[in-house]
């Protein structure tokens, strides 16, 4: 099998987010970037398929400017065979999806893996758009997958439970926590990543359909009102007032 893992280059989960003065973009100064954690579940899953000799090649792809190559290198260190960067600003989900789909069309992937959302824009848009552009089946929020004889058995999270689907490959999937355990790159992986190629290709789509007008900070919490544990009935009254208890 040939597997594509599309990743986003996102601020580390511990980052304090600040925006530029014009409120249009993230202030990147001093921010550490990582592989989007949900994409990492997909990447780990794909590397696992290689170890089981079920996948021949794992290609990791990111749409973005030169700076995203540091994140692609991390993915190579974790075990992807090859990295591809599509050289354009990922201004909206449509640009990202259109470029991924255009690349994938030429490549005959059996699996196209994504994260359920990126932790920067939290949109859950790209994988579904890619599936539709390529006219492929799509399973979102996957927490488990087994592949036998060109068929995938996928468990997907749903409201208050989960469901199991049988889907023929090729398949587009977005990962939720549970699909695979994150892998930490070892020294050998990091050394090998240096020799693995990063192919840069030109974009096919650069016109966004949606733009950011402004970024603001969420309203902070007003001061915490402390309740004495000896006076627990006061907390009961709070619950009643908030509509949590009736």
């Amino acid at each position: 099998m040939k597997v594509l893992v599309a990743i986003s280059h996102v601020p580390d989960t511990t980052t304090r987010i600040t925006f530029t003065e014009d409120k249009k973009a993230l202030n990147k100064q001093g921010v550490t970037f990582i592989i989007n954690p949900y994409d990492e579940f997909s990447l780990s899953y794909a590397v696992g398929l290689k170890e089981q000799n079920k996948a021949k090649e794992v290609i990791v792809l990111c749409v973005g400017p030169k700076e995203v190559e540091s994140t692609l290198k991390k993915a190579l260190a974790i075990g992807a065979d090859k990295a591809v960067r599509i050289d354009t600003e990922p201004k909206d989900a449509f640009i990202v999806a259109a470029n991924i789909a255009a690349y994938a069309k030429e490549q005959n992937f059996d699996l196209l893996l994504f994260g359920k959302e990126s932790i920067d824009f939290n949109g859950s848009q790209v994988p579904g758009m890619v599936a539709e552009l390529l006219q492929l089946p799509f399973v979102s929020f996957a927490t488990k997958m087994e592949i036998e004889n060109g068929k995938a058995k996928v468990t997907r999270e749903i409201s208050g439970g989960s469901e199991i689907l049988e889907v023929e490959l090729p398949l587009v999937l977005s990962a939720q926590k549970g699909l695979a355990k994150e892998r930490i790159p070892n020294m050998r992986g990091i050394m090998m990543a240096r020799r693995k190629p990063v192919e840069v290709i030109a974009p096919t789509e650069t016109q966004p359909k949606v733009e950011t007008l402004q970024l603001d900070y969420p309203k902070g919490r007003t001061q915490c009102k402390f309740i004495d544990p000896e006076n627990i009935d006061e907390l009961v009254q709070v619950l009643v007032n908030l509509g949590a208890l009736n």
Partner: protein, 320 residues
């Protein structure tokens, strides 16, 4: 025409769909455009009629049995066939909506604004709205110059408005396109309140010391009709299942009341819960960062405070 898609959860309408319908009714009034609901697959007797309480007047019901299970391909085909000259399509940003909306966006060539929490506003050539970005660390105002747009509505962000209407349901059939995404099994998590829909969530962290101590969390949740949740270390330790993990890499929730017990409030945890309307923190460490990001706090040992709280609630309810 504005359309709103009603999710089918094993024949029932869930809260997220009622929020979406009520949102679409408000939008229809604001934009002065007619509204039609779309529901797919078999529903329980009288279930769809309930939407009349929220001001919906027109609904197309695609009745084929095949749509009892969600399939992103089949649902996309069916919706694309049913809609006529859509200007706005509203979906709840739930598990199905997140798979359906992007496909529809491509199929119908309508830009997608996802996870928005404000009423769509005409702006310049198109529309603008607000959404959460950077996992609750930012609020993004998005704009599309398109006159036609798909929006997914963030759960618990729009309070449904009761409004009696007379609902006219038109039934139709659309053959299901494929069986490429076939549901072969389903599991419900023991009949509890689904986390993403819950009005109240009771959540436990490492401060609870072990899975054997979750009895009081569950009892408190049951008394409040709440869903239970946990922090990342708790799920990683296997004390609680992954589907209870709330936080940046778990589930993001926005309940009316979030009660955090024995959780310090690391930035990754806050990213998953800070959209909650009210946060109550119980922690024995008065310096826990969560106390700087909550509305009500109790500094005390969970093993003393929680049983006391349970007793007090029982007294209030007349159960003790």
């Amino acid at each position: 025409m504005i359309y709103v898609i009603v999710e089918n959860l094993q024949g029932s309408i869930r809260k997220a769909s009622i929020e979406a319908v009520s949102y679409a009714v408000a939008l229809s009034e604001k934009l002065q455009k007619p509204l039609q609901g779309i529901a797919l697959g078999p529903f329980k007797e009288g279930e769809l009629q309930k939407l009349s309480q929220y001001g919906l007047e027109q609904l197309i019901h695609v009745t084929n049995e095949a749509y009892k299970d969600f399939s992103s391909i089949n649902y996309t085909n069916a919706v694309a066939q049913v809609v006529k000259d859509p200007t706005v399509i509203v979906l709840p940003q739930g598990y199905d909506g997140r798979a359906l909306a992007p496909r529809l966006s491509i199929r119908l060539q309508m830009p997608l604004l996802s996870g928005i929490h404000t009423l769509l506003e005409p702006y310049e050539q198109g529309y603008k709205a607000q959404r959460i970005a950077y996992s609750n660390k930012g609020i993004e105002t998005v704009y599309t110059p398109s006159q036609k747009v798909i929006v997914t509505l963030k759960a618990n962000s729009f309070v449904p408005q009761k409004k009696e209407a007379s609902l006219n349901i038109t039934t139709t059939e659309v053959a299901a396109a494929t069986d490429k995404e076939r549901v072969v099994g389903r599991e419900q998590f023991s009949g509890k309140v689904p986390l993403t829909e819950a009005n109240v969530v009771v959540s436990g962290g490492r401060g609870l010391k072990g899975p054997e101590n979750w009895g009081m969390i569950e009892e408190l949740a049951q008394l409040l009709g709440a869903a239970t949740a946990c922090s990342k270390p708790v799920a990683d330790e296997g004390w609680r299942p992954h589907h209870e993990h709330v936080g940046q890499t778990g589930i993001q929730i926005a309940p009316n009341v979030y009660i955090a017990i024995g959780i310090s409030g690391a930035i990754q945890h806050l990213a998953g819960v800070s959209a909650s309307k009210n946060i109550i923190v119980i922690n024995k460490d008065k310096d826990a960062p969560f106390f700087k990001n909550c509305d009500y706090g109790v500094v005390g040992d969970a093993f003393e405070v929680v049983p006391k709280l349970i007793e007090a609630i029982k007294r209030y309810k007349g159960l003790a």
